[in-house]
């Protein structure tokens, strides 16, 4: 008997230009104790489906088909009835705990209110029950946690609270909307374990929405692949992974980075004089600025860098991994003169002790590409101006069209504004801008993390190609171990601002990591299962 | 005189009709005693020191708290106040005043000749900067002959001295305070007036209470007087209509019609010598040319001005500061607008192509600007291009007043022809605004001072008026009637044409009066 059943369900949104189809005749069912992984790239309609099931649709939505929860259809229910169903019989876990929790209410209040509402507990009972739940989802000192405000808890803790309130009333079905995407690798792993545990214990029917195939392959029994509002493929995880029928599925699977499947061949000539040497570089985010203190906003205590030393050889790809706040980006910003730092950088024989020393030559040779193309491209500037700046600054003779061609974008894009480009295209423009000055070193700061798997694959492939052609060295910063293992020559692991380990890619497979944190990191993301292509 | 009383009869309000002939104040059934009168005024009472008062509300308070030697009757002739009687030497250069006996200050100390002497010495001292200094005439020295006799010695003969001693700033203060420093009078009041100071909030409310030791056993009738400050005329009017106040000291022409209609309110009106004029610097181009001044004067439609500037509550002016409200007024044919003639005169003066000038008007009172705007339009056809520039009163006083070549003036009525002439138009005038400096005119005014014979004086002043009317040192297009309003239950208040005399001591409250305080 299926807990959740969606039959021939289609959803359209009314827009100025008529109806736009968001979901097209979806059929899926989840039985008790079963986990259905719903995979799709951004814009595929994952979230729309979630809203539809939660009955949280804008007035301009038009539906066909049926959704039924244990036999009854919430589609016909009144608002009051729906309110009674939500949280009671069908719960939801959201992507980002930092925005899905009310900043001005304690975690306890936000957990207890569900219990009061649905299980008609008194305030005191609810509080006690809440503490129990907190303990259940593995939070240390639940009593104290109940009294904390969201900003006083870590992302992981918050997500645990969200999960707790989702499970609070033992619903029959729970929707998980990318519950780990906003979290660190390690934390994510813990949350997944928690999920699996609770799932097994309560045998709730779960719909697990994610863009990450590898991840879904681990948590779900069944998987459904959503593409442009259509379910292209659905079935047992093994079946889908071993024998994908649709080529969209195949492409998705192919795009998933696999450590064993190296993208770069060979390694930079050893022995030769390194391109960059970072000598005991430290960055302090010590005092919160007077001003921000007055305005009351305390700047988040980001770990700086503590005496980081490393070197990059010409043409080498050095991967830097670590959880957010481990100081990866700080290092990148220091190297590009966006942070003041102590220690020194030796570049092309010159010793650079501070931002002052970063002259035009240095800036020309060291370029950076940022994580979010939307924010790294000025929305008010056309591609032409964006690309022309480095040329005018460093007087490269390259033509803008050539630059575009280099990143495989049509020359016609020169007159476009960033918002007229897709995410991938934007990132390509950013890359083109970085390469305009024919730099010796390009720092890639999480440049793929905001992109869909397939797009990410293409961008990575582009980078590799550029590296092969221009012999550019990369400082490749990412949190995706599998990806970095695919293309880095050496991997630097950062933790709490320190460089804890720097190992050669081969040693990783042979001798294996030495530092416990590195090990933890590796365990957190086992390589995705093989599939026959 | 007769002329004035006729006009007053026309505008008769309250007991004015009688007042002109008999003693000041109406004959009426024995007035009720007691009660509180609330008077509303339109400006703060900044100066409590009676020697330094400058504006009507301050005059009012000073008059409530202090007495002078003489005071003005409604016909501008003097009557006894602290001085019982006075005589002058035949040549009018020495005047002897006999003081009332047994008058005491609010602090109980007796008021004697010494105090009078001290007061006038203070007034004559430039450091005191008392306005009275220029008003009270050519007083050379003041001495006490005995406890109750004071002798004024003048530097030149002066017939009007008793009138001038009624000056608003010539109030008698204790000699002790004069010697100890007048600053004390900024905060407290020690006078011989009909009322004593209770509380003083310059911007809001001044309260005075009956002075039982007042020399006149009859008066005052009221127990208490409150002077409330209302900066906004409309609001002030509303307050009176709503019964928030009993007496509105002065009413804007624009408010008058409304108050006239309001029930329970009695609107008061009396013609006066208060006027608004356009001063022209006769010592510099272009106005040093008499033809230019005459031309401008010929563009003015005076009856229209009375409507535009005074809302009709006034009388056309004829370019002399005297009007029927003055004792020595001489009627001259009223100037009519004659654009053609004006053009011709301008051309003769060498401005055939027209003439541009900036007319400056202080922002207080608004009528100044109103006059400017009206003149601007009237003078246009004759080829005058006049830009009206309004500026804050402070800036005006500092930068334009007595210096500017072309600006709007505004003056209260003065008690005598001599006073107004010597204030504004003679070469030695206190405020020689036009720098007209006409020897003939000076002589006429000078001679008139030393003459006792009524007819002779009238002749001299008539000549002076003709001279001004012809030479036009300043254009005086309109005289204002003084306007005020009171609740019907207020009895015995008379609107004085001088605009600075109030005699609240004669006021009493009739039936139905609002209970206050």
């Amino acid at each position: 008997m299926n807990v959740l059943e969606v039959r021939g369900y289609s959803l359209d949104y009314a827009t100025a230009t008529g109806f736009v189809r968001a979901l097209d005749s979806i059929d899926l069912a989840i039985a008790r104790g079963e986990v259905l992984g719903l995979v799709g790239e951004s814009g595929s309609g994952k979230t729309s489906l979630a809203w539809a099931i939660m009955r949280h649709l804008p007035p301009r939505a038009r539906e066909q088909g049926s959704i039924s929860l244990a036999g009854q259809s919430p589609m016909t229910a009144t608002e009051a009835e729906i309110a009674a169903i939500r949280g009671r019989r069908i719960g939801m876990v959201f992507q980002d705990p930092s925005t899905s929790l009310n900043p001005t209410l304690t975690l306890g209040q936000q957990l207890a209110e569900v219990l009061q509402r649905h299980r008609k507990l008194t305030r005191r009972q609810a509080w006690a029950e809440g503490e129990a739940m907190m303990a259940r989802v593995g939070l240390k000192q639940p009593a104290n946690m109940m009294r904390r405000y969201p900003h006083e808890a870590s992302g992981g803790e918050k997500q645990r609270v969200v999960i707790a309130s989702a499970f609070a009333c033992q619903p029959e079905c729970i929707l998980f909307d990318e519950p780990t995407t906003a979290l660190d690798v390690v934390t994510a792993r813990q949350i997944l374990d928690l999920f699996a545990e609770l799932q097994a214990e309560t045998s709730v029917a779960s719909l697990y929405i994610s863009h990450d195939l590898a991840l879904v392959s681990r948590v779900a029994d069944h998987v459904a692949v959503l593409h442009r509002g259509k379910l292209v493929e659905q079935g047992e995880v093994d079946a889908v992974f071993d024998a994908p029928r649709e080529d969209y599925t195949r492409r998705l699977l192919a795009a998933v980075p696999r450590p064993d499947h190296r993208l770069v061949s060979g390694k930079p000539a050893a022995g030769i004089e390194p391109l960059v040497e970072v000598e005991r570089l430290s960055v302090h985010y010590g005092r919160t600025p007077f001003l921000s203190a007055l305005v009351g906003r305390r700047t988040a205590q980001v770990a700086g860098n503590r005496e980081v030393s490393l070197s990059v050889r010409p043409g080498e790809i050095l991967g830097i991994v670590g959880e957010s706040g481990s100081g990866k980006s700080t290092l990148a910003r220091a190297l590009t003169g966006l942070n003041r730092f102590e220690g020194a950088v030796r570049f092309g024989g010159r010793r650079i002790a501070g931002r002052r020393d970063m002259d035009r030559a240095y800036r020309r040779d060291v370029q950076i590409v940022f994580q979010h193309p939307d924010s790294s491209l000025n929305p008010r500037q056309r591609v032409r101006e964006i690309l022309s700046r480095p040329l005018t600054l460093y007087g490269g003779e390259a033509r803008i069209e050539a630059l575009l061609e280099q990143v495989r974008l049509p020359a016609t894009y020169v007159e476009r504004f960033p918002h007229q480009l897709s995410g991938g295209e934007k990132q390509r423009v950013a890359i083109a801008r970085a390469f305009a000055s024919c730099p010796k070193l390009v720092i890639c700061d999480e440049i793929t993390s905001s992109l869909d798997v397939s797009v990410q694959a293409a961008v990575v492939e582009l980078l590799v190609d550029l590296q092969r052609r221009n012999g550019t060295a990369y400082l490749f910063i990412t949190h995706d171990l599998n990806l970095v293992r695919q293309l880095a020559h050496r991997i630097a692991v950062m933790y709490r601002g320190e460089l804890v380990e720097l190992l050669d890619i081969d040693d990783l497979s042979t001798t294996g990591p030495r530092h416990p944190y590195t090990r933890e990191l590796l365990d957190a993301v086992p390589p995705p299962r093989e599939y026959k292509s | 005189m007769t002329d004035l009383s006729r006009r007053l009869l026309l505008a008769a309000t309250g007991g004015l009709a009688l007042s002109a002939t008999t003693s000041f104040g109406p004959a009426r059934a024995a007035p009720k005693r007691g009660g509180t009168l609330r008077i509303s005024v339109d400006q703060a009472v900044a100066k409590l020191n009676p020697l330094l008062t400058r504006v009507n509300p301050e005059y009012l308070v000073a008059e409530l708290l202090y007495s002078a030697l003489t005071r003005l009757k409604v016909d501008m002739t003097p009557e006894p106040d602290l001085a019982e009687s006075w005589t002058s030497s035949p040549d009018l250069s020495e005047w002897t005043f006999v003081l009332r006996k047994g008058v005491v200050f609010h602090d109980g100390s007796p008021c004697t000749a010494a105090d009078v002497v001290a007061t006038f010495t203070a007034i004559l001292d430039p450091k005191t900067a008392s306005p009275a200094r220029q008003y009270i005439g050519p007083v050379a020295k003041v001495v006490a002959k005995d406890e109750s006799t004071v002798v004024f010695t003048l530097s030149s003969p002066y017939a009007d001295l008793p009138v001038m001693l009624a000056n608003t700033c010539a109030k008698i203060v204790p000699a002790a305070i004069v010697s100890a420093g007048l600053a004390r009078l900024d905060r407290e009041a020690v006078g011989t007036g009909p009322f004593k100071l209770v509380s003083f909030e310059p911007e809001r409310l001044i309260v005075v209470a009956r002075n039982d030791a007042y020399y006149d056993k009859e008066r005052p009738y009221l127990n208490r007087v409150e002077v409330a400050v209302y900066p906004d005329p409309t609001a002030e009017g509303s307050a009176l209509i709503a019964g928030g106040s009993d007496l509105m000291l002065s009413v804007q022409p624009t408010e008058y019609a409304r108050l006239e209609k309001a029930s329970g309110v009695q609107a008061l009106r009396v013609p006066s010598g208060q006027f608004c004029n356009v001063n022209m610097g006769c010592d510099q181009k272009p106005f040093n040319d008499v033809r230019v001044r005459q031309a401008l004067a010929l563009t003015v439609d005076r009856p229209a001005m009375v409507d535009l500037v005074a809302e009709g509550y006034g009388t056309p002016g004829n370019d002399t500061p005297l009007n029927p409200a003055y004792h020595f007024y001489t009627e001259l044919p009223l100037k009519k607008p004659d654009i053609a003639r004006a053009k011709a005169l301008l051309a003769e003066a060498g401005y055939a192509g027209g003439l541009t000038a900036t007319l400056i008007a202080s922002d207080r009172p608004a009528t100044r600007t109103q006059l400017g705007v009206a003149l601007r339009e009237m003078a246009k056809p004759a080829g005058f291009t006049i830009n009206v520039e309004t500026m804050p009163h402070a800036t005006y006083l500092d930068q334009v007043w007595k210096k500017g070549p072309f600006y709007v003036g505004f003056y209260n009525m003065q008690p005598t022809a001599d006073a107004i002439f010597r204030l504004l138009y003679t070469s030695n005038a206190a405020w020689n605004e036009t720098r007209w400096n006409d020897a003939a005119f000076d002589k006429l005014v000078g001679d008139a001072r030393a003459v006792i014979d009524e007819g002779k004086r009238r002749e001299l002043y008539a000549e002076a008026q003709r001279l001004m009317n012809k030479d036009v040192p300043s254009i005086i297009p309109v005289f204002f009637d003084l306007l005020a309003a009171q609740r019907k239950w207020v009895e015995g208040y008379t609107l004085h044409p001088r605009g600075a005399v109030f005699r609240i001591d004669q006021v009493s409250l009739g039936d139905g009066a609002q209970r206050r305080g």
Partner: protein, 274 residues
């Protein structure tokens, strides 16, 4: 741009705002030609006339035609207000953007001082300045402009601060661009949108501030037919003719409402969420 206009007209405020402001602009441009009479021709015998076929909105204390005065007055009223706002905005935008770009101590010093000045109520500030410069439309413009500057600086800075956090600014710095370029080309264009909104709304305030200054006798001076001044003058004649104060008040209110609506419309139009 066309896109923006479409979004603008989609919201009721936007539509209404565009209509009203459009109408006002028409009056500003061709008011004098529409006016049946001269703005200051006296008619001593036609004073305080109620609306009639002859004088559509009646006449004032000088017998001048109120309609004509309004039509002429639109220019001074609106143009002056816009001028003042523009002035304040320009100054504010420059200071704010620069301050945000400089950051650190400099930014702090600037903003502390700006805040300090902000703590003087703008009307009081304007009063002082007008008294300083002498009363005239010009000094009123200056006064309001200056009085607006601190506020605009704050707004601009907060927006600019958000912009400086953007990576395209970082990219520019990493490229080694000069400060001038970064402020003018990278930051300002992105700061503009919110500022335009603030500006439109402030025009409304400017109109009212002008009126208020005139009411206190410090704004435009007679015989100007600036609307605020007309209201201020009419107050004294309120009980002789109600129309005199009614019409210019409505006019002022209309301008203010128009720009307020337009501003809010723009805000919605520029706001991705709606």
């Amino acid at each position: 741009m066309a896109e923006l206009l479409r979004r603008l007209l989609r919201t009721p405020q936007g539509l209404l705002g565009v209509l009203i402001v459009g109408l006002i602009l028409v009056i500003v441009v061709c008011g004098p030609w529409l006016a049946p009479y001269g703005p200051d021709t006296l008619a001593p015998r036609l004073r305080y006339r109620p609306p009639s076929a002859e004088f559509l909105l009646g006449t004032d204390q000088y017998g001048r035609d109120i309609l004509s005065r309004l039509l002429y007055g639109a220019r001074s009223t609106v143009i002056l207000a816009c001028l003042a706002t523009g002035l304040g905005t320009l100054a504010g935008a420059l200071i704010g953007t620069t301050s945000a770009f400089l950051g650190g101590r400099a930014d702090e010093a600037i903003m502390r001082t700006i805040d300090a000045i902000l703590s003087i109520p703008s009307l009081l500030f304007a009063l002082l300045i007008v008294n300083l410069l002498g009363k005239s439309s010009f000094s009123a413009v200056m006064a309001i402009g200056i009085a607006f500057t601190p506020g605009m600086t704050r707004v601009t800075r907060s927006v600019a601060l958000a912009v400086t956090k953007q990576d395209y600014v970082n990219a520019a710095i990493a490229r080694g661009e000069r400060g001038g370029y970064i402020v003018l080309r990278e930051m300002l264009p992105n700061v503009v949108a919110p500022i335009v909104v603030e500006m439109t709304i402030r025009v409304a305030f400017a109109v009212m501030l002008f009126a208020t200054l005139s009411f206190l006798g410090l704004g435009a001076q007679p015989p100007s037919s600036e609307w605020g001044l007309m209201v201020a003058e009419a107050r004294r004649f309120m009980h002789l003719s109600f129309w005199m104060i009614l019409w210019p008040s409505l006019a002022v209110a209309m301008v203010a409402i128009g720009f307020n609506l337009l501003g809010d419309g723009l805000r919605d139009a520029l706001n991705p969420r709606t």
